[in-house]
């Protein structure tokens, strides 16, 4: 494009025709204005309509998040979870004064033993006939035996029972209620003047021992959670830590609902039925009911005939010494034929726990795992497997009876406990379940806090992601419930704390994995160039160039004047 600016002075109009042919003729003012008007019209559309549209449609909506609160929770600055356990001494057939004294000395002994401040055992006295003003407590005393009145905050009842015979003091933990019976002989009562006594020390040590595993688990959790708690957890010995690590690797992550699948696999056509409903009702339901306060379960069952081993493992070999077929221990990991056995992953909401019962072929029976007669094993975070060799008289029957299923059900319930992370001690199931409640509460609080912290970081680090209002709502919900969970913990209402922690964690996850946000996480600003340029570039070039040219000629005209 030759840039010979046409002379604009009217005097040049008088040039000769030959010269005019070489030089472009002057533009008429009319055509100049026409050109400017056309350009202005395109620019007007672009600037007055295009820019507002651009502004409006590409503005990123970011709801306000309580970033400080979220970070504070993530750094564990808001709530230091504490676990004050109330332990009620009941039915003490003692004069109030003695009882109080015993209590005080025991508490001293307990406090001496405890080196983990988060977990605190507090003794209270109940049912003191003389001092108790309430009728309700009177009544319990009259009843004598059975569960004392429970407001849900008492973790353990200690019953003092004077006996004359047998070694004293001795204690027994009731397996199906949260009660510790302590037998003592009356002469072991601390004398009013002493600050310690055998009985008080004994009770304190027992109580301390009962909660040992819970303390270890909580300490382990705290050590894995962020920040300030790390220092406290150094008390954990490496062996215990490793053990807890193994346990937690085995157990499922906490979920409000689990789905249990019981599957029967057999390489032949028999047995083709099993009395699973009755067996579940008898062996499984009690344990599931005791978990009801923590989590819900849904159950389905299936029978799979002609289920073959996966080709990757060695076929069972006959061991003449043991008169049994054996499979190699190394092959256990491939025992579940994941490709062909219909063990679907999670169907409904919540993870699926699989229990597979394998009935070997009659020709290969009995079938054992090499080197052991124990035919069950646990697959971490997946479920349990058992090889069941039915008694010879039942070999031919097409139906497995409830009785034949009993060993399998027992094995499965043990595995279920391990898979749900139920601690192995103490012996009392209610105590173990309440321990699980507290451990889950703590882990949910930590997980919700760290999710919120991560969300706060994402929010700050990525100014280009949109944050819808629903995220802000979820975050606020989560924070409220976290606070409530924390308060409940402080008051010793662990069940309510679990509920709140569960809601808090659910909302935090929902906020973090909000779909519209996730899509934009990996959209750096450089990509915007690639989005805008291919289309807008070619459109903009003529507009900009024409505008530049026009401005240039205006400037030239001004200078020439």
């Amino acid at each position: 494009m030759s840039q010979t600016t046409p002379p604009r002075e009217p005097t040049n109009m008088s040039r000769s025709a030959t010269e005019a042919r070489k030089q472009p003729p002057p533009e008429s003012p009319q055509s100049i204005w026409l050109r400017r008007a056309v350009m202005a019209s395109f620019w007007a559309v672009a600037v007055f309509i295009g820019l507002p549209i651009w502004w409006k449609t590409t503005a990123i909506y970011r709801a306000d998040l309580p970033l400080q609160d979220m970070t504070a929770w993530a750094n564990a600055k808001v709530c230091k979870p504490v676990f004050p356990l109330r332990i009620a001494v009941v039915d003490a057939p003692l004069p109030p004064h003695d009882a109080h004294h015993l209590l005080r000395t025991t508490q001293y002994a307990l406090d001496d033993l405890n080196d983990f401040s988060t977990h605190h055992l507090r003794l209270t006295l109940r049912e003191m006939p003389a001092s108790a003003p309430a009728n309700a407590s009177q009544q319990v005393v009259v009843d004598g035996v059975g569960e004392p009145a429970d407001d849900g905050t008492v973790a353990l009842y200690v019953r003092l029972i004077p006996v004359e015979t047998g070694p004293t003091p001795r204690s027994q933990l009731q397996p199906y209620s949260a009660t510790l019976d302590v037998y003592y002989s009356p002469n072991q009562m601390p004398s009013p003047s002493s600050t310690s006594s055998l009985l008080a020390t004994y009770i304190a040590r027992e109580l301390h021992g009962i909660y040992a595993e819970e303390r270890a688990q909580l300490a382990y959790l705290l050590s894995r959670a962020a920040g300030s708690h790390a220092a406290e957890s150094s008390s954990l010995s490496p062996e215990v830590a490793a053990q807890l690590q193994r346990q937690s690797a085995r157990a499922f992550k906490y979920a409000p609902t689990y789905h249990l699948t019981f599957s029967l696999f057999t390489p032949t056509s028999t047995p083709s039925a099993w009395d699973i409903e009755a067996a579940l009702r008898q062996y499984m339901h009690p344990i599931l009911e005791s978990f009801a306060s923590i989590t819900n379960f849904t159950i389905d069952t299936q029978v799979q005939l002609y289920a073959s081993f996966s080709p990757s493992i060695r076929q069972p070999e006959y061991d003449a010494d043991a008169k049994a077929w054996t499979i190699h221990k190394e092959d256990l990991s491939g025992f579940i034929n994941a490709a062909e056995w219909p063990l679907s992953p999670s169907i409904g909401k919540g993870p699926t726990i699989n229990f597979a019962l394998y009935i070997p072929d009659r020709d290969q029976s009995p079938l054992f795992v090499q080197g052991s007669r124990d035919n069950t094993w646990l697959v971490p975070q997946w479920g349990g497997v058992m090889i069941l060799n039915p008694p010879p008289d039942q070999m031919a029957s097409a139906t497995l009876t409830k009785e034949a299923l009993a060993p399998a059900m027992q094995a499965f319930s043990t595995q279920l406990n391990a898979l749900l992370g139920l601690p192995q001690t103490p012996a009392s199931l209610p105590l173990r379940i309440s321990t699980l409640t507290r451990v889950h509460t703590a882990s949910l609080i930590f997980s919700a806090s760290s999710t919120l912290g991560a969300l706060a970081q994402v929010y700050q680090k990525m100014p280009s992601i949109p944050v819808p209002d629903s995220v802000a709502q979820s975050v606020n919900q989560s924070l409220t419930h976290l606070q409530q969970a924390c308060d409940c913990l402080r008051d010793g209402r662990f069940q309510a704390a679990l509920e709140n922690a569960r809601v808090a964690d659910g909302e935090a996850e929902k906020a973090f994995f909000e779909r519209s946000m996730v899509g934009q996480v990996y959209f750096p600003d450089e990509h915007k160039v690639a989005v805008y340029l291919p289309l807008l570039g070619p459109v903009a070039v003529p507009l900009v160039m024409a505008a530049l040219k026009e401005v240039k000629s205006l400037v030239a005209a001004l200078k020439g004047r």
């Binding site: 008007a37 395109f42 549209i53 449609t57 590409t58 949109p466 934009q520 289309l535």
Partner: protein, 423 residues
């Protein structure tokens, strides 16, 4: 050079007879064509119209179900006809008549001769022209027009309104012009962009007829007001008919926001399938502004040839609107012969006609490969729509160049037939 009455009658009778013959001889052809994406878009499909009619006659809101996206006032009119599936003749007759009326309007435009000579500008080549009979025949027997008519797409109604609006504007008939243009805008929305050039055309026609025309400002204000009133009346009537204003979202909302990405011959569908969701709104704005930005620029630049501006805009609509069909291209291609005097100045006629032909033959084939045979993919069809749009844009660009060159020849007769260069 008005059409000789006999000649005209023969032409129209022939075209009508041809249409009816095709309808009768190939009873399955209309339905087959109505299913072609090239002819039936979500906003003009006859099948969707039938669905809307069915819902309407059963007292359900026609927009329930999200299939029908056309103007509500079409429904009471078409519900007067017997059902198209049982008695197709009535519907066929209607669309034949619509085509003939469009051709009649095109003939009127040709008769006024405003394509080559207007109040402010007279082409130096205005003697080079086709008779209006030839132009009308070109419209009536164009395979694109025929196919669109057989597919019974409602674009035919829009085309009728646009052509009539142009005819009325060339004749200087204000009221009819406003009514017809508002009807076109009501049916398809984008014809509203034709208002500025056609208003200029109307103004010129008025001045030609009576020398004492009103001032341009009052003229513009009066007519803009009239157009708003006419459009408003149509919208209010629609709202009264359907009982709510929901139809706005289902008709114009669909054209503006492009929720239905059914393939068509346009450029939008593929682009918005690929678009990042977060930029979708922005690019909808960009695409629509792109269509709209041509109107003011062209009207200002070619103020002296408003009919040419309007014709070029129909070409731009056929390329750049969200749901164009072959019927839109048919309208543009039948307006081009009005500007026969520009043909000698056009440089790429071969390229343009070749690519349009190429696209019209390969388009259906590639669509078949993609959708039915499964041996191609969406890119096949999209590539063809690109070629189609390229062909049309070459015609648009080339005719614009020719119009400007023609203008220059009038301005500076000494440069005629000489090479010119843009500086």
């Amino acid at each position: 050079m008005a059409l000789d009455a006999k000649q005209k009658a023969a032409l129209f009778a022939g075209a009508g007879a041809l249409r009816l013959l095709l309808f009768q001889a190939f009873p399955s052809l209309p339905n087959r064509l109505a299913g072609r994406v090239e002819l039936s878009t979500p906003v003009s499909s006859f099948k969707r119209l039938q669905e809307g009619l069915y819902l309407y006659t059963h007292n359900v809101s026609p927009y329930d179900g999200g299939v029908y996206h056309q103007a509500p006032l079409l429904l009471p009119l078409l519900s007067l006809l017997p059902s198209a599936s049982d008695h197709p003749l009535a519907t066929n007759l209607l669309f034949t008549v619509v085509d003939l009326l469009s051709a009649h309007a095109l003939g009127q435009i040709a008769d006024t001769g405003r394509a080559a000579s207007t109040r402010l500008f007279t082409s130096s080549r205005k003697s080079i022209r086709w008779s209006s009979a030839a132009i009308v025949a070109g419209y009536l027997f164009s395979p694109f027009t025929l196919a669109a008519c057989m597919a019974r797409s409602t674009s035919a109604l829009t085309n009728l309104c646009i052509l009539t609006a142009m005819a009325k504007a060339s004749q200087g008939a204000s009221t009819t012009f406003l009514l017809v243009l508002s009807a076109a805008s009501y049916l398809s929305m984008h014809p509203l962009l034709l208002f500025p050039p056609l208003l200029a055309l109307l103004y010129d026609a008025r001045l030609d007829r009576s020398k004492s025309a009103p001032s341009p400002l009052t003229f513009t204000v009066m007519h803009t007001f009239g157009l708003l009133v006419a459009c408003g009346a149509l919208l209010v009537a629609s709202a009264l008919l359907t009982g709510s204003w929901d139809f706005l979202e289902a008709t114009y909302g669909v054209r503006l926001l492009l929720p239905d990405l059914t393939p068509n011959v346009g450029l939008w569908w593929y682009f918005f399938i690929e678009m990042f969701d977060s930029f979708r709104d922005f690019f909808l704005g960009v695409f629509w502004l792109h269509v709209a930005s041509y109107t003011p620029g062209l009207t200002i630049r070619l103020r002296t040839q408003p009919l040419f501006v309007a014709a070029t805009l129909t070409g731009i609509f056929a390329i750049f609107t969200p749901y164009p069909s072959v019927a839109d291209a048919a309208l543009y291609l039948s307006l081009i012969p009005l500007f026969r005097h520009l043909f000698p100045l056009m440089r790429y006629t071969f390229l343009a006609s070749a690519s349009v032909l190429y696209a019209s033959f390969l388009g259906p084939a590639f669509y078949h490969l993609w959708v039915y045979a499964g041996s191609g993919n969406a890119n096949f069809f999209y590539a063809i729509t690109l070629v189609w749009s390229l062909g049309l844009s070459i015609i648009v660009g080339d005719s614009l160049y020719a119009a400007l060159r023609d203008e220059l020849d009038v301005e500076r007769p000494e440069l005629r037939d000489k090479e010119v260069k843009r500086i």
